[in-house]
Structures are given as structure tokens and as C-alpha cells.
Point group: C2
Chain length 383, copies 2
């Protein structure tokens, strides 16, 4: 198994017809969620924010192709009806189903299609690799790759699938993540662990700086593996989320390279994260990475506009790629060898490490280069 | 005349050799400036922030090709030497010269080149259209077009040249603007008018969300035309700045269309401006405009993440282009005719008007579409 079907108590099914996908997952347990902060949050997000307060889910239904966002009161009724369809297909209580949608904003759900798809796949729920792949595929929109993660510990596992490749920014971007664990965790404990993991992983991915109306991350703990130490669970959850987050960054729309920015020497982790996200999201840094152009001044300029105070003269910067680390700035002094720096940009992953010389906190952010392909994809998404 | 040479008391000269340009402008009078807020602000910016406090300039020297940014104490000495070169070439006091640089970050100035260029053009200072064109050309980097504006009133004029097409964001982006008026204005009054005009024009242009280390806007009032009413001057200055700001947006790197976003019905002008800038800077909105794809939900999603509170159900949105206005959302209800909306996107200018239904304040922001060409330009800028 690669992801959710590696967790005891989870059964899955999915189907994709052209742009329109549907996924069903059955898993009973305590549950928590993280949701879009966009003022225009979609109907399913508003519905789930309310329902998750119960701290329990028995299943999830997700569609792709239509976001059910900016659809007013009709959108809310549609989301409720989609929940009923999912609950019916899974044979569970209507108040214990998670609902998520992703796709074009400002369109109404095609409920007859969703009903037909749900009925057709409800018979094939299973614990197989094919089933988890069908779910990962069903929730994709502009993603090019399925995104799976499975972290296995001695006594328990955490597995997840996610989607997202555009409209990705701090505050989760456009993503749906379905996470499962067989550890037994109370809803409150699960919520806390999920918030921390999200802050350190999904919220540190920037593809294009746009932020979605539809983000939903749901985590269900089936409890089949019994109690585990909270610290151990939190660590495994974060590892699972980090793996999924990096996969989102690497599959950023049009991406040819994964970009990682590590900020050290910051006064606080939050400030380190702000600088890391600003650099990783800078269009000028992203295009330079694409062009394998060691124009490191853009990294410095982006860090300088992040709104975090540090001494420009105490900054150190390196670039890492293809197995070598090349120093660019050492304690405020330019030390770059441009030819070597260019060489380090030749591979599929480029890492900038920036030491602010202003403290001991560290944070990492992930993104990707900005290519002509991003423009192509997004210039023609609805038509 | 098109710009600065239309102002009494201004003489200009400029020269460009490949990527390396130099401009000299002679004009004595009271002066004020607005500068980059980036923590990594360049040496000439730091020098001018200090010198402008005197409230007086007799001339300006500007180079393009090297930003003299992130160059430490050597950079500060270089900026001072560049000031001396300019003052010598113009025959003015070394404390009354404005200095600005634009180009690649993290490189030292080629002072022998600057000295040679300054000496060669100092003989040709003149009040001609060719001279103002030479200045506008000399300060360009990735700009494709010269940017001139001249606002003529009955008794006075305001003229300016500017450069800027990438790394353009609120807080002035990478731009240099040289503004002149023959109205007699006290330094303090000039500074206030300049701040207001900048807030409403240059600070509402977003090309790529990156913010520069090198922004300098300098305005000199020669006084040759005598006193004018402060309100009348402020209005003319704002008109001149708006013309230049829109030219920057239209010449955004790789741009094929000018994008204007008008936000109405906001609680305050500042909140209207935040929403307008967020929409105009959204990569997803920008690519949709490029693709002439009426994916208006991206406008709504961007507005929703701006951090300004309003009722999603009270929003109205129209798109305007090619002489027609097409309603998209009316008071929270989707009313779009997608074919008509697509038609409205066919021209060189696309306007989204968003009414938040939350007050009476208005603001406009300008930007451009995001095209493959932006990626090409910025993937290969230093090499």
C-alpha cells in the first residue's frame, strides 16, 4: 500500500470521468479538520466547519471538476444533498460524512452525475492499492501526479492522499487532503496535532500565491491500533503531511523543479517561515530557478520585503543542488562563484539556505519554478 | 514635449550603451522623494533618503544595468562617488544631486564607465524632445517602451519620466521616476502631495508582486512658474503619476493586456485599495486575462483572500473591454453570459469592477496579464 489503504479500518473507491471525479472513503473514528480561510469559502467548507465540531466521521465523499464555491444558498443545499448521497452510498449517518469539492468556482454541482458516480462505486469499496489510487486520481484537477504518503510505525500507521497544484499558497492553497490513522486519538488531541502539522507542512507550500476557497484537510483516527504516545503520533502525522506537501510543491502547475528554501537564524519559527515563504513564492526567484540563472540577488530582495527585521550585513546564503553546496553570501560578504552556482541549479531540486544571523529558529518552505507551462495551463482552464 | 523638458527650468541628457545607461537632469529647486521600503534597500536609496531631508535638488544622475544593491560599505562609497561624478558633470554642489540606480542586484558599479558616460553627455544637456527621450531610454532595463507624461495647466506644468516593468508591486516596485514641475512649492508641501499621489498611483501597480531594493521617486519644483493653489498642484501631480503608473502596468514584463481593477463600495479607500491590488496581482486572474478566459471566480477568490471583510452575498462584479460592460455577478447572484464575457476580454485592456456593497470608498489598481514571455524574460535576465 502507498497511502490510506495502509491504515487499518479504511476502505476506498474512486472514479474519474473526464474532468469529473468522485471518491468515497469509509473509515469510522474520531476526526478533525483544517479549512480554507478565504472569505469566499465554498459551501462544502462551510458545511464541514460546522459538522466537524462533533469530532467524528464515518466516511468522506469528494468530487472534482466543480468547486461548489460562490454558489450562495443553492450551493449550501447542494452540499447538504451531496452529503446525503455520500452517506447513502456508504450506509452511514448523514451527520458523520465529510464533504469536499474542488474545481471551477461559480458553477453549481451536477448532482445527478455525483449520485450516479457514488452509486456505481459504492459497490467496489475495498482495501487495495487500486482503491487508494482511484481515490487519489478522482480528486485531481490540474495535478499531473497522484499524491500518496504512508508513514508506518511499529504499532500504528498514518496514511494520506492529497491533491493540489495551482492556487497553492500559505493557508493551505487549493488542496484537499484525506488523512487516516489507526492510532486511537481523542478529537481534541487530533485537532491540535493536525494544526501543528499543517502549519509546518501544507502552509509552507507556495505555488502561485493564490489562496483557495475550497481547502479541506480531514483526518480520521479509526483507533484499530489502540493508544499511542501523543508525541509519537504527532511526529508521524507531520512526516506524512510533509511528504504530501512536498509532492504538491513538486507537482506545482507547470513545474520543472522543486524549490526548497530553508531559513535559519531567525528570532522565531514564525518569522523564519514568513521569510521562507516569501522567497519560495517570489516570481523572480521562481523564474530564475527555471532558467537556471544564479541571480541570487532576487533571493536577498525577496527576504528583504518579507516584513521580518534582520541585519542585511549578517546574512549568509548558499545554494544546493546536484549534490553540491555553493556559498553565495557569507556573513554579508558576496562570495559567489557564478559558474558553480549555475551548475548547482541543473537538477530537479534546488535548495536555498538563508541564515539571517538574528536568532536560532528555523523553518522550511517548498515551492517550484515558474515556467511557460504554468501560464498555458492557467490561461485556458475553464474553456 | 512629452515629459520633463516641458517643464521650465529642466535640461536633460542621456545615453545607453547596451545594458548600461546613464541619465543626467539639471533642475534647481525644492525637492522631495519617496523610497523603497525593502530591508535590503540599495546604497543610492540609503544615500538619497538622507540627502533629500535638505528639501532641495539641483540635478539628478541615474544609471541602469547595475542596481548597486547588496553591495555593503563599498556600495555606499560607490554611490557617493557616483554623486560626485554627477555633481561635477552638472557643475552643481555635491549635496544637491539626486542619485538612483537600477539593474542587477549584488554587483558593484562600473564607476569608470559611469564617469566616461557622464562626461560625454554633460556637454549635450538641452531642453528638447530628443533629450527627454534620451533620459527615458537611458533608465530602462527590461522595459519595452519609454514612459513619459506631461500635464499642462494654464500657469504651470508637471512632467515625468519613469522606468519599471518587472519586480513591480505595492510599495512602488522597481521603479525610478523623475518628476518635475515649474510650480513654486515648499519642500514639505511637495512631500505631502508626492506621498498622496504615490499612494494612489504607483503603489497601486502590481506586475509580479516582487518588491524592489531600488525604488526612487524624486520630484523637483523649479518655481519658474510661480505659486499655484496647492489643491490644483496636487491634482496635476496625481494625474501625471497616474499616467506614468498605467504605462508601467501596460509595459509589465511580457504583458499583452493592461488589467484595471476598480473596487467600489468599500468601508475605506485603503481597504478598497487592498482588494484591488490583491485581485490585480493574482497569478490566476492574470493568466485568465491572458487566455481571454472568463473564469471570473478567480476574481472573487482573490478578493476573498485580501484580508478585508465584506459580505460575499452583496458583491457585484462586471467585466469591461472592447467598449462593452458585461455583468458577471449582481448583488451576490451569478448573472454571467460566458460568451459575452469572453468577447469583452478580446482587446488590449480589461477592466474588472467589483462592488463590495460594504461602504462608499473606491480605489483603482493596475496590472497586466501573465504570459509565457514574462517567464522567458525573467528566466534569463543576468546571463
Amino acid at each position: 500500500m502507498k497511502s490510506i489503504c495502509g491504515v487499518s479500518g479504511v476502505r476506498a473507491a474512486g472514479k474519474k470521468e473526464k474532468k469529473y471525479g468522485l471518491a468515497l472513503v469509509s473509515a469510522e473514528g474520531s476526526a478533525a479538520g483544517v479549512f480554507a480561510s478565504n472569505l469566499m469559502k465554498a459551501a462544502p467548507v462551510r458545511l464541514m466547519e460546522e459538522r466537524i465540531t462533533k469530532g467524528r466521521l464515518s466516511g468522506v465523499i469528494v468530487n472534482s471538476g466543480c468547486a461548489n464555491a460562490y454558489t450562495g444558498t443553492r450551493g449550501m443545499r447542494d452540499a447538504q444533498e451531496m452529503a446525503e448521497i455520500g452517506a447513502g452510498a456508504l450506509g452511514i449517518d448523514n451527520t458523520e460524512i465529510g464533504v469536499a469539492s474542488t474545481g471551477v468556482i461559480g458553477r453549481y454541482l451536477d448532482l445527478p452525475l455525483i449520485r450516479r458516480q457514488a452509486e456505481s462505486i459504492s459497490q467496489s469499496l475495498s482495501r487495495s492499492e487500486a482503491a487508494e489510487e482511484a481515490v487519489a486520481q478522482a480528486i485531481m484537477t490540474t495535478d499531473l501526479t497522484q499524491k500518496h504518503a504512508l508513514v508506518e510505525r511499529e504499532t500504528f500507521a498514518v496514511g494520506g492522499v492529497t491533491k493540489g497544484s495551482g492556487m497553492i499558497a500559505p493557508n493551505m492553497g487549493t488542496m484537499i487532503a484525506l488523512l487516516y490513522t489507526d492510532a486511537a486519538i481523542e478529537p481534541r488531541e487530533l485537532k491540535d496535532a493536525l494544526r501543528t502539522a499543517t502549519t509546518r507542512t501544507f502552509n509552507r507550500v507556495v505555488v502561485d500565491g493564490d489562496e483557495s476557497t475550497n481547502d479541506i484537510l480531514l483526518c480520521t483516527a479509526t483507533g484499530n491500533a489502540g493508544r499511542v504516545a501523543p508525541g509519537e503520533f504527532a511526529e508521524a502525522l507531520e512526516e506524512c503531511c510533509r511528504s504530501l506537501a512536498v509532492q504538491i510543491a513538486a507537482d506545482g502547475e507547470g513545474a520543472s523543479k522543486l524549490l526548497e528554501v530553508v531559513v535559519r537564524g531567525a528570532p522565531t519559527e514564525e518569522e523564519a517561515a514568513v521569510v521562507a515563504r516569501t522567497v519560495v513564492g517570489s516570481p523572480l526567484v521562481k523564474t530564475a530557478v527555471y532558467g537556471e540563472d544564479p541571480n541570487w540577488g532576487r533571493v536577498i530582495a525577496a527576504a528583504g520585503r518579507a516584513g521580518v527585521w534582520f541585519e542585511p550585513d549578517r546574512v549568509s546564503l548558499t545554494i544546493e543542488g546536484g549534490g553540491t553546496i555553493v556559498p553565495l553570501v557569507d556573513n554579508g560578504t558576496i562570495v559567489v562563484d557564478l559558474a558553480k552556482a549555475k551548475d548547482a541549479m541543473g537538477g530537479k531540486k534546488v535548495v536555498f539556505s538563508l541564515d539571517l544571523g538574528a536568532g536560532n529558529a528555523t523553518a522550511t518552505a517548498w515551492g517550484c519554478d515558474l515556467t511557460e507551462r504554468y501560464v498555458e495551463i492557467n490561461g485556458r482552464y475553464t474553456t
